[in-house]
Each structure stands twice: as C-alpha cells, then as structure tokens.
Amino acid sequence: MSENQMSQMRSIDPAWAWKPFEPTSDQPWDRSAVSHLYRRAGFGMELSVIGEAVKREPAEVVGKLVSANRESTEFRSTADALAEATLAGGDPEKLSAAWVYRLLYTPNQLLEKTAILWHGHFATGAEKVKDARMMWNQNQLLRDHALGDFGSLVKKISQDPAMLVYLDWAVNRKAHPNENFARELMELFCLGEGNYSETDVLELARCFTGWEIKNKRFRKNRYQHDPGEKTVLGQNGDFDGEDGVRIVLDQPAMPLFVTRKLYRFFISDEPEPTDAFLQPLADLFRERDLQIAPVVERILGSNQFYSQHAIARKIKSPVELVMGMLRSLGATTNTQLVARGLLSIGQGLFFPPNVKGWDGGRAWINSSTLLGRSNLIADILDSDATRFDGKTLAEYLGEHDVQTTDEAMMYFEQCLLAAPLDEQAKDQLRHSTVSQPGDQDQQMRTLLHVMMSLPISQLG
C-alpha cells in the first residue's frame, strides 16, 4: 500500500463517510452508482432493473435489499430439494454446484453474498470434513444468520459438527485440551491476532473440554470437562464453553475486528482503514446487539460506499467475476462447470484454502488465475448449456435493442465494468473482435470474452 493511499485514507472524515449518501454532481445517483451497489451487495443486475432503481431514492433501494434478509420459503424448498439429490450421493464436491444453483437463481443476492463472506470467515473445508451432510448443515447455518445475530452465529459455529471436525476437535479431553478451536475463535473469528495471550489460548481451551462430536452430532461429555477455575481474558471462574464464547464476544476488540472484515468485503481491499475510521460502525454493531443487518445497511447507504475510495477499489473474487457476468445478462449455465471452474481459479465453494479462508484482494490474482479467469469465461460462453434469458447472446441483446459491436460494447460496459473504457481501449476491442470469423452470436460472445479478460474487468 502506498504512502499516498494511506494519507488519502487519513484525510477522510469518518463523520462524513458514514452519513447517508447524498448524491452530488461528482457522485450522482445514476446507472453507474446503482450498478456499483448491485455488484457489491450481490453479483450484478440486468440493466432494466438498474434503470428502475435510478428512479428511486438510494436509501430506499438499500433498505429493500437489506430487509430481504431471509430466504423465501418457496425458493428455499426448491434449492433444498436440488441439494438433497446431491447429498444423497454423499459427494462433497457436488455440493459446490448446489450452491452455484442458489447463486444463479436467488432473489436475495445480498443474503447469498453475505453467506459467502461468513463461509470465508468461519472457513471449513470439505476435503477434511469429508461429510457432505455436515457441510450442508453448516452452510444453512451461515445463510440463516448471514444478516442476523453475530453472537448466535458464533455460538452455533462453536458447536457445529463440520467446524469441530475441521479443527481436529471431535474429541476434547480435560487431560490435554486441544488448543485449536480456542485459538482460532480468538485469532480468526472474533478478535484478531494480538488481542489475546498464549495463556488465554490455554485457559480458553480448558473451557471447551468435554465438547465433542458423537454420531455426527455435538454433545457435552461431562466426564471430560475440566470443571476447575480458569482465567480467560482477565476474567476468573469455573467457565464452560458457553462462558468462553460469551467472554470472547464481550471483548472490546470484537466489534472493530468484525467491522473491518465487513469494510473490506463491501467497500475496498486497500488501503486498510484505521480503527478510528471504523469506530462509528463498530459502535453501531455493539449498540444493535451484534445484529449484522444494520451495519451492512449503514455501509451500503453511506457516502464512503459511493465515493472514489470504494468504486473500482476491489478486485473481484472468482464468484463475483463469473456470477457478475451471468446475473447481469440474465444468464443460466451448467452449475457443475461453474463449480469446478471456481475451484480452479481459487474459490472452490466448500473448499477454502485453510481456516483463515480467502484473503481476497490482490491474493486472488496471479498468472495462473488470470489465465484461468479468461479460460473459464471462454468455457462458459462456449457451453451449449449457457443461455441468456433462454436465448442466444445475440438474440438476448437484440431484445434490448443492441445490434452492433459498439452498442454491445456500451451495454457490457454499463452493466459489467466498474469504470468506463476510453476511446483507445474501445478501438482495440473493435479491432480484435470485428475481424473474428463466425456469425453475429459468435462475434458477440467473442467481444464479451475479450472484455471480461481485460485487467479492468477484474475490478469490482
């Protein structure tokens, strides 16, 4: 991160930053601002929907997005029925495709996007858990709490079979407590490294003794619980696991730690905001009893969110890249192809790299993933299963009065790119697509592939 960026960041007034967004001539509430909101609060939206939202007030659009914080019964039963068919086979790899189905069809994009945030936060990998049912149950847990109560999410995660198996915690005896969950609870889930001591790890681990997984279910084995007095984060008592979680959640470092994660996820990868800058959000989080929705609503409706510090200041995750293209163009495709493809470019759903989850930002990008991103887009566009509102790409665009290469370029630019292309870039694109062989549909797909492969298209 450059000094320049740091000083820019320091010059922003937090009071201004977290106030409700007031459009200005520099930052108007226009198609590009709405498109930014839908990209960050989800994956992307068709231009017709964006056009409708421009006519409404920012706070109203954001409020509606956030209030849809539960899955409708109807959609859940369809998605679950499909997942059940997958679970019957017991193959964790196929779970990925079941999640991709939700990403492709959900009417609550913000909910699904936040579930991905928590999957990366409470990262649990199927290659170690090796039980599709456990992984799926955890996934539902993350979805049910995605915009709900963070405190109960942490409590449930601390007794979640998939998590405990992942952290080698299926058996935890008082004689030699396993430190792994206690450490990660403080380091990765709630407080951040530096906000606890090694003694806290040992003492907190004692609180959790006796917690185990038997027949794939959580239970407390009272014979293995260490009932003695412990000192955790400055508090003394004969604590059990629930006490341990409560003490960790009560730490002053907790709201800032979680808020920082939300900031990075929804606003920008870099530069890192200061504690003081995040404090208003952290205060809100504590005041609202650790409810996630109000903080997310504040973020998505803030001046900061629509400022130059947020727009085009994130690198798209693989899911954002692929789903962004598909959802912005009303497209559907082979969910298995997408699931495998996401894994190959670094974001296999149910397969995070380790307990810290995905670092995001620049870490998404390297030579292999850049080529892989372009190749995956090519594979999806070449697949017979890929349809745009049930049609070919050329037919879809035709229905939106898009006929020529230039019109298509403009259409893609508006719904897919975080920043406009300049004339020289457009010239190069014309040059490299118009001369391509093939019918109009082939040409449109080529143009889309090339645009999606540009460095700028990796910005969200």
Partner: protein, 410 residues
C-alpha cells in the same frame, strides 16, 4: 548438448513472445536485448520448500535416546527400533529413507532449533514473520525473496526471476515491489484457451487498454500481472515440453512440482528462485499416520529432485531449502496430536551443502510455554543462503546483520 539446444530455442522464442516480467519496463527494448545477449544459465539456484501448518521437528530429526522425549510423548514418540539412526543420539523419522541416503552422499544438512524471539503461534502470523522477516507492527508489503529479486539487475533474455509452482495463494516471501512473480498451477493449463486466443493474447500483451480511472493502484497491479502472465505462459510451457529423465519422481503433488522445477532448470531458464508448498502439517489429531505420509512425500520428492539434477549436471548449482512456520509442542495432546509450538529444524539439500545435523540437541526440559527455545534465528539461515549461496549482501534484505552459519562447503 541438449542444454544448449534448448537454450537456443529459448532465445528464439523469447524474441517473439514477450519475456520480460519486470513491472513497468518497456517490453520492446527487452526483446532487442534478448536477441543479442546470451542467457546466463549457470547461476546458482534456490528451491524453497515450505512445509505449511507447522512441522513436528522432534519427530523429524528424532532425539531417540532422550528419555524426556519418550515421557513427553507416550503415544507419539517414534519407537527406537524404527528410527533411522544417524548416531547414538539422533536419527531420522522412518519415512525419510531417501534423505538418509542423501546424507550419506554428503548432500543433506539439517539445522536444529531454528526460530525467533517471542515466537507467535498463529500459523498466519508466524508464516508472515518467516516470509517478510518483520513483525506485525512494521510495514511488510514485500518478502525476503522479493527484496532479493529487487536487488537483481534485470537479466537480458528476460526469464522470470522467480516462479511459484502450486495451486495455493502466492507466498508473501516472493512479493516484490519491482517484479511480479508468476504462479503456475499446472503447466497444461498455463495457456489461454478459446477460438480467439491469439488475438486476445495480442491485445493483453501489447498494451493494456487505457481507462478513465485515475491513480488506481489495484488497476496498475492487474495490468502488470496480466502482462506478466501472458509473457510467462508461452515460455514456461515451451521450456518444459521436451524434458527426459531416468529419475522416477513419486506420483504426488510435491513430486510433480519438483519434476517441473527440474524441467525448467534443465531447459535453461535463468530463473533463480523456485518456490513450492507442501501442505498438511497442522497435525492436532491422529498425527502419526499423517506425519508419516507427509515426511515420506517430502523425502522422496526432494531426493528425486537432487538425483535428477545431478544426472543432468546441475547438482552443484541448486540448493533445496525446507522450512516450516513453527515446530510443535514438545508434549502430545489428548487427540494423539500436537499443538502449535515454536523452534524447529530447517533443511538444506544439494551438492554444495555441508552435510550433517547442525546445532545442539534440543533441550526438552528447558522450555518456554511448553515449547523448545530457539538456538538460531531463522534469519541466520537466510543470511547464510543469501551470502554464501546466492552471493548477495544479506543485511539490506534482512534489515540488519545476522551471523552466518557454516552450511556450505564452498
């Protein structure tokens, strides 16, 4: 002979396909230079193997005669009868047969009790410390190998100065301010697909399309990364295509990666740093079986690499260095595993290492928070590798002078 043919083909290819991976350098001049300057492919090379998750050093170089070792690990101590003995006190884990042979051939060295002051037991924080040589409160956007790369003059012929092979996230150790180190997941996939791939490559390679965005460091990063990816893609794939070897590598992830390293070295790439990761060492439960598999995979793959390089006359100019972010607790836990610890051994393999087990036998009774105290700072090993192997001044890279250890014969 083979090597020279490969080099010549390389040179030819590098004129057509862009080669320089330097960020912000003007590519056409590099091509011109590449045509006129011969590639230096006799430079010394460092291959880094990262054991991710915290390797249990006590069960790797085993103090089998120490009673404290057995009492701390009633279930996990390696039975004396199974230890591969080096002397009356120390031996190797039974899976390390290949490395024992390398030791006998004078090509293996272990440095014991390597760590740092005030050890951190978080995987991520400790790994960051090993990668950047800096603590959390210091700025650390680059890694120790990245800083080494920054100091190297751009080599005409423009091969990538370092390469990370693997599907994991790129290690911070190779992060640099002036060069982008490519990550290559699989050679077969390291090429653009699609029916418009030639035009696309041209478009991405010539010059990234300009945009109306002002100073956006993320966009600059994406642009230079894209240029780097396109340039490396053609060269690396080509380099490995015609390799032949009699050495049989284990059919494991690590074995496959190290075979590619040998291919690229033999093809005459002027790349000096190769980085691979070997994951799975976080053995909190049921450690014995997992650790056996991991050490066997490591030992077999590294042994194959050293043998293969020897057979192709590169044995004297390649050093393979293995490290982990920490060792593990001395005492086993109740899940027949071990929790996060502190100091542990590092390993060097190759024709020029001073063979043997360096450093004192670990003291299993004088512990800090249940862990071994360190005898050597890991930066002493880095300093030795930088000065005595890569031939550069370590002080500027590591931030201060560290006393070298004698780990190389020349």
């Amino acid at each position: 002979m083979n090597i020279h043919l490969n080099r010549r083909r390389f040179l030819r290819d590098s004129i057509g396909a862009s080669a320089a991976i330097g960020v912000g350098t003007t590519l056409p001049e590099c091509f011109a230079e590449a045509a006129s300057t011969s590639i230096q492919s006799d430079e010394r090379i460092l291959v880094v193997v990262q054991m991710s998750g915290g390797n249990d050093g006590l069960n790797t170089i085993v103090p089998y005669a120490d009673d404290d070792y057995r009492s701390a690990r009633p279930k996990l101590a390696i039975p004396t009868s199974e230890v591969i003995r080096c002397d009356d006190h120390d031996g190797f884990h039974p899976a390390m047969t290949g490395l024992k042979e390398l030791l006998q051939d004078g090509k293996f060295a272990a440095v014991r009790n390597v760590g740092y002051e005030n050890p951190n037991r978080s995987h991520f924080e400790s790994m960051d410390i090993w990668h950047t040589c800096r603590r959390k409160d210091e700025p650390r956007s680059d890694g120790w190998l990245g800083r080494f790369l920054d100091q190297q003059p751009a080599i005409a012929g423009g091969d990538v100065p370092a390469l990370h092979l693997g599907r994991e996230q790129q290690p911070t150790a190779v992060a640099s301010t002036s060069v982008r180190v490519p990550t290559v997941k699989e050679l077969a996939e390291f090429q653009l697909r699609g029916n418009n791939k030639d035009r696309l490559r041209e478009l991405l390679e010539t010059r990234p399309p300009a945009t109306s965005l002002g100073d956006n460091p993320l966009l600059s990063f994406l642009e230079s990364s894209t240029t780097s990816a396109i340039a490396a893609s053609g060269r690396v794939t080509e380099a490995a295509s015609s390799y032949q070897s009699d050495v049989i590598y284990p059919e494991t992830d690590l074995g496959n990666k190290l075979r590619v390293v040998a291919q690229l070295i033999d093809a005459g790439l002027s790349t000096r740093i190769y980085y691979v990761q070997h994951d799975g060492f976080d053995t909190h439960a049921q450690q014995a079986a997992t650790h056996d598999i991991l050490l066997r995979q490591w030992s077999d793959a590294v042994t194959a690499l050293v043998r293969d390089l020897d057979a192709h006359d590169h044995g004297g100019r390649v050093c393979v260095m293995t490290f982990s972010e920490f060792g593990r607790r001395v005492a086993e836990n109740a899940s027949e595993g071990t929790d996060h610890g502190a100091a542990g051994p590092m390993f060097l393999c190759g024709g020029a290492v001073k063979p043997g087990i360096h450093g004192k036998r670990p003291n299993l009774t004088d512990l800090q928070q249940g862990d071994l105290k360190h005898e050597h700072d890991f930066r002493q090993v880095y300093a030795t590798v930088l000065r005595d192997w890569l031939g550069t001044d370590p002080a500027t890279i590591l931030g201060k002078d560290y006393e070298s250890l004698r780990l190389f014969t020349s």
